[in-house]
Symmetry: C2
């Protein structure tokens, strides 16, 4: 059995964006896992991993941290299961997309939902979360909330290209979902758990794709506590 | 022998961005081809293709147009040669990247270089080019030039993520170049042929990657008339 460490939010919410990449990858590989929710501020609980962030996966004796490292580990260790990357070129492109998404989309999405997310983290993380995210944002959470409409517009402009991508093919990775889809999905799943706002307009190609992603693996990502 | 129709610029310049995707794909597959330069305004010369844009490829009896369609054609027809996509997942991700790049990067790059490019098109295309690109830009070429510094800054912000990607791995597609690299490269090759400005800072990961791309296939893309 594989154990996954991920963030613990209020009322059973599991909001760690990077952990969603790992959870979808585990499902893709057909691997069972047990979740270990931890506070974002509780670094002692994950010190065994040698790092300070989740996700962390323990598979027998092996401990792997960082969602990208975990994806590569799962692909190589479970090479006989459905592929996350489809070979060397697909792996390279997925790594490129992973880096791009974290630098571009995540940076655009964070200010839109962060104040809502703050209300849904475990109360034990209140102070830590505020300090951490106000550092990322270079502003207070309240300032981010007051400028939300402007940030949402900027995000929307970047999402236009993804609307076009998903109008052209059903998944980021073509006819069927793979790790590239889990990267993009993790952002929207994070938003879905963090915030009552819907950042994707209903009926658009991106919305329809998200619907397909939520159906995967018996509605695995749909049937979780959300905002 | 394969024939490729591409745009004819001043003094032997071959500036069609999409045709560079096709030329690099042909080289990747190890296929010889003969270039047929045409004016952008000369729609009669390419009417046989059923479309109004280059690139067009004729391979024996078969005519294929649109750089993405050509890439898929080459991959399927020459399946025994080095792969452009590395399988279904890589093909899906490449198509996603292709759509994204045209909607995002191309739109950011065009206003930075378009006034310079105008000076390097075939004189026979002057009026057509101005009409066409002033339509895309929703401004005159002169207005675009006067706001160049602002556009360059906006482009640079989007390129930061690609600097991070190429710091992490030598090519967009991982350890070796493939179609994802040709997509990104086509934009910078277009800029290199169109404009004396260097839109990539020397010594950066993106600059080093471009250097590797220019070396491929005996310096195929390096040894051409540029701005």
């Amino acid at each position: 059995m594989i154990t996954l460490w991920e963030l613990k939010g209020k009322d059973g919410r599991r909001y760690s964006m990077f952990s969603w990449r790992t959870k979808m990858a585990l499902k893709h590989k057909g691997l069972d896992f047990e979740s270990q929710p931890v506070l974002m501020s509780d670094k002692a609980a994950i010190a065994f991993s040698g790092g300070k962030t989740v996700p962390i996966v323990r598979d027998g004796e092996r401990v792997v941290r960082d969602s990208w490292q975990i994806a590569e580990y799962l692909e190589d260790r479970y090479a006989d299961r459905p592929s996350l990357f489809g070979g060397a070129i697909g792996r390279g492109m997925a790594q490129a997309f992973n880096t791009w998404a974290d630098r571009t989309l995540l940076a655009l999405l964070m200010p839109v939902i962060v104040a809502d997310l703050y209300e849904r983290v475990d109360p034990g993380d209140d102070a830590y979360f505020r300090r951490q995210f106000e550092g990322f944002l270079q502003s207070t959470l309240e300032e981010a909330r007051s400028r939300r409409a402007e940030f949402a517009k900027r995000l929307d402009r970047q999402l236009e290209a993804w609307q076009a991508v998903l109008k052209r093919q059903p998944f980021v990775c073509g006819a069927a979902p793979a790790y590239g889809d889990y990267i993009l999905f993790s952002l929207f799943q994070w938003a879905r758990i963090a915030s009552p706002q819907d950042i994707i307009a209903a009926g658009t190609p991106l919305d329809q794709w998200r619907g397909r992603m939520l159906e995967l693996y018996d509605g695995f990502a749909r049937n979780v506590p959300t905002a």
